[in-house]
């Protein structure tokens, strides 16, 4: 991977995995992660307060204009990180936990239990994800929590399948055979000898999925199944913007926010992919 043509100084100072896309991705994601904490400090106005006249175009007072109620779009966009990013993290963590656990058990125990789980995975993955998420979210009722549950239901099978494949491969290795010969108990073999070797692809895939989960959450909010007003959530802000079609600035801020944060995660994923798979170069 190390490019010998680079000057020595750069090779020593910049780690070899830090390519330009990776650096841009990390910078963007870091910015939005900071916003999760710093939005109350950085944002010029309260995101819920009516601070100006309605539908004002961008100006020095309101950099991204005001929305149909006279709230500051920039402040709402910055506060949006506070909703979108933690939700995405929670959804991915839950989906990975359920999926990895069920996938691991399915791969290790196998038999009827194992195939039952995998058939459930097959059926769930048979739906176009957006439609299934919509149906589940609508059945549970609108709200960010229900949208999150819907997304976990849609997403866990991905990790279950991934984990099962990993476990099936690792359990055939020699050190597992040695552990069996040494008389280790079945749970001990699974948790101590197999699982520690299975996590890498799952963690990588989870990192890359964060962006997609943010996109799905925004889509659900956009059609009114996620965050409820007046929450400053990016998807529902774009929905407001669609109603105020001729005031383009209402949807501009949240749109750019989603685009950049998802692009950031995708850049990181792209960089990881190049690093882990030198064949593609």
């Amino acid at each position: 991977m190390t490019d010998q043509s680079l000057p020595l100084a750069r090779r020593l100072l910049v780690p070899y995995w830090l390519t330009l896309p990776m650096a841009i991705g990390l910078a963007i994601v870091l910015f939005w992660l900071l916003m999760v904490v710093l939005a109350p400090v950085v944002a010029p106005y309260d995101p819920l307060e009516l601070v100006g006249r309605r539908l004002q175009p961008p100006s020095w007072q309101h950099w991204l204009g005001t929305d149909a109620l006279g709230r500051d779009v920039l402040s709402r966009t910055l506060f949006g990180a506070l909703h979108s990013i933690p939700i995405a993290v929670i959804v991915v963590v839950l989906a990975v936990s359920f999926g990895a656990l069920l996938g691991a058990l399915s791969g290790y125990i196998g038999g009827l239990f194992g195939s039952a789980i995998m058939r459930l995975v097959d059926v769930t993955l048979s739906f176009p994800p957006m439609l299934l998420a919509m149906a589940v979210a609508a059945s549970l009722g609108p709200g960010l929590e229900n949208a999150a549950i819907a997304m976990v239901i849609v997403w866990w099978p991905v990790y279950a399948r991934l984990m099962r494949a990993q476990v099936l491969e690792v359990r055939e290795r020699e050190h597992v055979e040695a552990a069996i010969a040494a008389g280790a108990s079945r749970p001990r073999i699974l948790f101590k000898h197999i699982l520690p070797l299975c996590w890498t692809p799952i963690l990588i895939s989870a990192t890359m999925d964060l962006g997609q989960v943010i996109l799905l959450a925004a889509s659900l909010s956009f059609i009114g199944l996620g965050a409820t007003p007046p929450t400053p959530e990016w998807g529902s802000m774009i929905s407001d913007g669609a109603q105020q079609f001729y005031s383009w600035w209402v949807a501009f801020g949240p749109g750019v926010a989603i685009l950049t944060v998802v692009l950031g995660f995708n850049f990181i994923g792209d960089g990881l992919h190049d690093y882990l798979d030198p064949r593609s170069e």
Binding site: P128, L131, A138, G211, A242, F245, A251, V262, G269
Partner: protein, 376 residues
């Protein structure tokens, strides 16, 4: 999101089954896993055999959704007005067996489905199946056009990126691909509609035809085909013109994935010896790239294009809302907003079955088209 290309390149025996999301918010689709030495017919039979079970699974999940619906399952079947009418409530209880046990209700649900009864939409007051079939052509037209646009852009960019590897063209193509899979389609639709239609006036506004245009008689439900059948060439041009922007918005996201895959495969093929031979024999560069290299990447490319169908169905839901496109997507969104359960569960059911069938056809076509798999 790029893992698909990697899997294709590494192992032609495994169709996709990528580790991570291949198409934006789409799942890695289950690909065909043909084991070495397994006869082709047995593989196809096995896949066909699994189909009814998957469909049954989809139906079961849809049934479970009707039971978790908040409160009384009757609210999932009847409208508010009908709920106040004891006669209607009684009739619905009998038809869907709501006074019986859960397993019995399940059988009744399946029986109703088999006779094409998906319930009645609260909003349109028509059977859900009628609504779905009425709106399906508009969605298929949009998705089809998006597939054409997406694969044209994707293949061209992929070939250029591979040929001019690591040049600014390559980087620009990568950026275009990444932006395509990162941008929310509903926002991109709004933005392009505002800039191109309102500000510049170069594309028409939302809808399938100009508002004042007279509709051609509905034959197939595909606006482009119906206008041609009616012999209205001006209307046909108008329909195509209206199709352009939504199909582009939808196709962009897919074009990114396709271009990355084509690039990876082209890079591998361009390094092979038969390319060197072709060049040594004096074939022009264009001929080498198109005839010799691109042709050898066709199978994985076609596969990824047909798998992109799932992403397009997902994207169509949101694109249709922005472009007032009277398809399944806007129907589903309207249903979701109005908490019209029979409609939304019906659309999900139909979407799942369409998705399943496309994937099956793709898998089978893949193993038939790829001699390495067939003779493996």
């Amino acid at each position: 999101m790029l893992t698909s290309g990697w899997v294709f390149v590494n192992n032609h025996r495994t169709v996709s089954s990528g580790q991570t999301s291949i198409f934006g918010s789409m799942h890695p689709c289950e690909g065909a896993k043909l084991e070495k030495g397994q006869p082709l017919t047995r593989f196809i039979l096995k896949r066909l055999f699994a189909m009814p079970f998957l469909v049954l699974g989809i139906v079961t999940l849809a049934f479970l959704l009707t039971t978790v619906t908040k409160g009384d399952p009757l609210t999932a079947i009847l409208s508010d007005r009908q709920l106040n009418d004891p006669e209607a409530v009684k009739a619905a209880m009998a038809r869907w067996g709501l006074d019986r046990s859960l397993p019995e209700r399940y059988f009744i649900y399946v029986r109703n489905l088999l006779s094409g009864d998906l319930g009645t939409s609260f909003v349109t007051r028509r059977p859900v199946l009628t609504d779905v079939l009425f709106r399906l052509p508009a969605t298929l037209e949009l998705v089809g056009a998006a597939m054409v646009i997406g694969s044209t852009i994707g293949i061209s960019l992929g070939v250029l990126a591979a040929y001019f590897k690591n040049s600014w063209i390559d980087h620009l193509a990568r950026l275009f691909a990444l932006v395509g899979s990162s941008v929310p389609v509903f926002w991109m639709g709004l933005a392009l509609l505002y800039v191109l239609s309102v500000k510049l006036g170069v594309v028409p506004g939302p809808g399938r035809l100009d508002p004042r245009a007279s509709l051609p008689p509905t034959v197939t439900g595909f606006m482009t085909i119906d206008t041609l059948l009616a012999g209205e060439f001006k209307l046909f041009a108008n329909a195509l013109w209206h199709l352009l922007l939504p199909a582009f918005v939808l196709g962009w996201a897919v074009s990114g994935t396709i271009s990355r895959l084509v690039r990876a495969n082209m890079l591998e093929v361009l390094g092979r010896e038969f390319i060197l031979t072709a060049r040594a024999k004096g074939a022009g560069e264009l001929r080498v790239v198109i005839r010799h290299a691109l042709r050898n990447t066709l199978v994985p490319t076609l596969t990824v294009i047909s798998y992109s169908f799932a992403y397009l169905l997902t994207g169509a839901v949101l694109t249709e809302t922005i472009f007032s496109w009277p398809g399944l997507g806007s129907y589903a969104v309207g249903a979701a907003r109005a908490l019209d359960f029979p409609a939304i569960i019906g659309v999900t059911l139909v979407g799942g079955i369409i998705f399943l069938l496309t994937n099956l056809i793709t898998d089978i076509a893949y193993v038939i088209a790829n001699p390495r798999v067939r003779l493996g």
